[in-house]
Symmetry: D2
């Protein structure tokens, strides 16, 4: 896969777009795009006691949300302003109880068709090398240009 065409977003541009279309998720600053590359993105979920569950570990839904967001960022990083891309399925395995720390989600697209994307995400606790969760998700992508907010 060659990518001679210009990338649709820099990290800052994509972050600004996400704050615009998902203010309830991106305005708080809990999520940060740490990397954007062809077919890949890295997103950090800043630690917040609100994400914890019984036993002091990060709750499953917070980990799911980070996987979902990391794949969405990877897709937008390839395709551009497709706010309406929606998750159609996710399979997630929780591997280790993460420490109460930042989580890093590393997403990689394994298929990017015109209307469908499939990707996987590895989740790490910041500063450790053991994967805490692994997810595979599929996204439905609307026809391009359909839904760019003007």
């Amino acid at each position: 896969m060659s990518h001679p065409k210009p990338r649709p977003f820099t990290i800052d541009q994509l972050h600004a777009y996400l704050v615009e279309i998902f203010p309830q998720v991106w305005k708080s600053g809990d999520l940060r795009i740490e990397g954007l590359a062809p077919m890949a993105a890295t997103v950090r979920l800043v630690h917040n006691p609100r994400h914890l569950r019984y036993g002091g570990t990060v709750a499953g839904p917070a980990m799911f949300a980070l996987c979902d967001v990391a794949l969405y960022v990877a897709i937008l990083g390839e395709v551009g302003r497709v706010a309406h891309a929606v998750t159609t399925s996710v399979s997630i395995n929780f591997l280790l109880k993460p420490a109460p720390a930042d989580l890093i989600g590393k997403a990689r697209l394994i298929k990017l068709g015109k209307r469908l994307a499939v990707g996987e995400v590895e989740l790490y606790s910041d500063g450790t090398s053991d994967m805490v969760a692994h997810a595979v998700g599929t996204y439905s992508i609307p026809a391009r240009g359909d839904d760019a907010p003007s």
Copy 2:
């Protein structure tokens, strides 16, 4: 499956236990146990604009969280005070974009072993008969008595 033994919780008792062990999730009143039966539970997620995503539909992570919670409630409703039960995997299919309304999660356990539970959840938008999401989850259950908060 016969259940001659007394059920570990009434709905009110289980709700009180959940508020005690997961105050950050259950204290707000957004979640309500609507039914508890052998191997099954129904949980309502009260509509809140915070759960929406771009396009006015309920966000995937909010739907995932309800599935996860409904299975957890079904397990506790069978097994009792096992706060440390943890999700080990979830596969979720998003079927329809739900309206901005309450969501109803109907969980049913399909296997309940000593250390492992498997269940499925059907998600509905309140007042409609079309399923908006379907999930299958597995839980690891600690040895009973291990983790009841004293």
Copy 3:
């Protein structure tokens, strides 16, 4: 769900169609359609030592194949001659080691759109009430009429 329209197949007609389009799978007689109902189908995999694995239990791939086939039968039972319908994803949980006996797959469609179907399958060992496996699958359905063998 009302079904005033005539059903596309009787069990015998659907079996004949499957032998025609998938002779390598259906001609041996190992698979039998036991029931066909709106949005549902029951398929039997006749016991064959070839399906066993180490330890005398039915191999995972044989169980997967039955889940896949049962969903396919349920879809064709609704939609008619869409031989090109293809599985796009399956999540399967293996719950118990089945005895070396016939397996019964009970498929139920939970969504049937124009181009996509989602269904679940419960697998039982013949004569027992404990589920041995549970699967959720998604299928892509070609535009109708596209692929009926003439």
Copy 4:
């Protein structure tokens, strides 16, 4: 992850062990171990018309079986003679219709605990670089030494 300890099998030794414990699967020669590395294995499914489905493409169950086998080989390559290791779940996404050719399954373990392994598999059509399927599986591993055939 350091692996100073001797590897339990060479490729030939592992192949011989698989023929011994799963003759119905490994004796035909359709499956070949092409690579064995720490936490990883590559297995080839030799093309056979029997694996095809309507439309001339490889059937889903044949692809599932290769994913399952490749993970099993990766686990045995790490752990040794644990014939009784059993698949507990698999989520598979079918990405492209493969050509009627050999399939290559590249398995990588992402967690290897004492009793549980989790891994992913990428499936390719021989000679092409596009992934045709992607699976994530979990295995239950018996206590070591329990089940080595004497």
